[in-house]
Subunit: 355 residues, 2 copies
DNA sequence: TTGTACAAATGAAGTGATTGATTTTACGTT
DNA sequence: AACGTAAAATCAATCACTTCATTTGTACAA
């Protein structure tokens, strides 16, 4: 701060004009130019044209920073990826969310700031974000429970929307029905006569992971199958944890593995293929996410579809409404997740048997 | 603009203070508080302590927007993903770049803005970015040739660094030696006695794709193998284009396929596996990128490694130097790319023959 | 007791917009 | 011609900071 040189190479190249200049050149006052730029009424049509002409001629662009100071709104939305999941950032889930957020933001003329947590900084992450403060609201992508970040933002008075399970009673959030989605997947496996169904969960300090595990347990309970903690492997959402989870569950003689992310399911397929285990004949595999690659695996992956892009878009729209004061009640949306049956669960086999 | 309600629910909750308030409360002037906040010299140690105490007590945070207006620097960096490649955004390449940029930015106390091109808007994309103007400099991720975006930014006077092959003579850029990387891959295949080597390129209006194709041609030329346009399939960097490329090249009786991205190589493996073609026995496959999943495919993928994170980090560091006026000469860095030999190229086979 | 030097603090003019209160202009009525 | 009215334009305050020129304060030497 304050240590930057005063003269900027590129500043000298661009002749910058401000409202006042344009006003002078067009022979009107600053206010009038402001009205024209902001498409406000009460300005004569000829005057408007004249001003626009001058603006065009001088290639004038409004200084957004000054406007932000005056209006107290930057028209910037933050997307926050907590450090707890930064290692998973390269998973297609986040790009999808970000892309849809970015699109909605653009439609409403908002810019998007991105904050990705860094393993090396602990507490400082939330502080950095809050200290910056140059955004109107924040979207928090699936953080862990009791993430201090949320409290930080909340205390600092920033509007925010959580993408994932909520942390507080009255939080604004947009989530997928993880529990029911997982439930359907496991019910399906049970229907296909699988008896020992293993699960590879995500980190259990994340709401989404817990909900999916709950769906698994509900399905077992409804079928009167005893819950066996040995069949539960806590993964990290990474491919390698699917791989190791599968190896561990093989020891338990499972006949089905439910990996709660497609990426982990990929790891499962790799492990089983290496061990010469046939999918779905010997072990059925079901994933979660329905990522683009899920239909391209071998065998094609049966998985729980979640509408990731819709989730991000809805969250963004909600945040904008919140920021613009159009949202009075807390907004809490839960999107359905449904099972997409492909090859890896063995539904085909059963059908053939029936025939 | 200008249509937002004047009273904000959350504004009433947070008692906001400004420099003037703090100055009054600490019994000093605004300037002094500013010095303290910015860690500048010429302020008495006791005064400094006193001011800091008041700041702490009132939970004061500097208004970054006002500072930006005064200093004419927002301390924001933009990462721009042109619409031409927005479809590939979920590829791990971009998250990796963004993550490393984000990290470097954080280290230098910069925030990161993200602009992702949208297929639906053509020309408006660059305009939107420039009109926003609330950033000090931009990082452009691998755009197509003659992308009007670069011209836009350049005209608007924004410092920028290109990640990928440069568009102009004097542009600042950070790139990978795509040509040499591809060259090594193809030379390796030739050394393994492959005679008909097909290539699946990226979009040929992108510099990186062209450079990789050039490397392929150079390798053939050096080995006195005639270049055959029938062995060249123009892909899109997407998995499916690898799949279709492989099917097309199968018609040409190739004995090796060089896919210039790992994701496309994945598609190649899928196609070959479906057709019952053995890799590497019947057809050798080489990818490009060395993505995390490359070592987890079956067979493990031989591929050209490129240091994606380093690329992003270096670009970010360069941009910050540029923005802060510490860069006088154009910065042009080319990172080496090297071949990582695994199973899919069939190097093992040859060794065994020799034994 | 001044004068000088230097550190510390202050005052005021910027930065470029928005916006509500106010004045000017244009135009149709009486 | 005087008046009322509404539209159009202007004025001035405000947003919250930085920074340069200036003043104040202190200590030490002459």
């Amino acid at each position: 701060m304050g240590t930057l040189p005063k003269i900027w190479l590129l500043d000298t190249l661009k002749m910058k004009h401000n409202l006042k200049d344009i006003a002078r050149l067009a022979g009107v006052s600053k206010s009038t130019v402001s009205r024209v730029v902001n498409n406000q009424p009460n300005v004569n049509e000829q005057t408007r044209e004249k001003v626009l002409e001058v603006i065009r001629q001088h290639n004038f662009r409004l200084n957004t920073t000054a406007r932000a100071l005056a209006t107290r709104h930057t028209h910037i939305l933050s997307v926050i990826i907590p450090q707890s999941i930064a290692s998973t950032f390269t998973e297609p889930y986040f790009p999808s969310v970000i892309q849809s957020v970015s699109k909605v933001a653009a439609e409403h003329d908002y810019a998007v700031m991105l904050w990705i947590g860094n393993d090396e900084e602990e507490e400082r992450f939330g502080e950095r974000i809050v200290m910056n403060g140059m955004f109107d609201g924040a979207l928090i992508a699936s953080s862990i429970e009791n993430d201090p970040l949320v409290e930080h933002l909340s205390k600092a008075g920033f509007p925010y929307v959580i993408i994932g399970p909520p942390h507080f009673e009255n939080a604004n959030y947009v989530d997928v029905d993880n529990c029911t989605g997982a439930y359907h997947a496991v019910v399906h496996l049970i229907g296909l006569r699988r008896k020992r169904i293993g699960i590879i969960t995500g980190p259990l300090n994340m709401g989404a992971s817990k909900d999916r595990l709950a769906g698994y347990r509900n399905a077992l309970a409804d079928a009167n199958i005893a819950y066996d903690a040995n069949l539960v492997f806590e993964g990290t959402f990474e491919e390698s944890s699917g791989y190791h989870g599968a190896l561990a569950l093989l020891q338990q003689n499972v006949d089905a593995i439910f990996a709660v992310s497609d990426t982990m399911a990929l790891g499962v397929l790799r492990a089983l293929s290496e061990k010469g285990v046939k999918v779905p004949e010997d072990i059925a595999v079901v994933g979660f996410d329905d990522m683009p690659f899920a239909s391209h695996t071998k065998p094609a992956l049966t998985t729980v579809h979640q509408p990731i892009a819709e989730l991000g878009a809805d969250a963004a729209r909600t945040l904008i409404r919140l920021v613009e004061g159009q949202l009075v009640e807390p907004y809490q949306a839960i999107f359905p997740a449904y099972l997409v049956v492909r090859e890896s669960c063995g539904a085909q086999l059963i059908k053939e048997v029936h025939v």
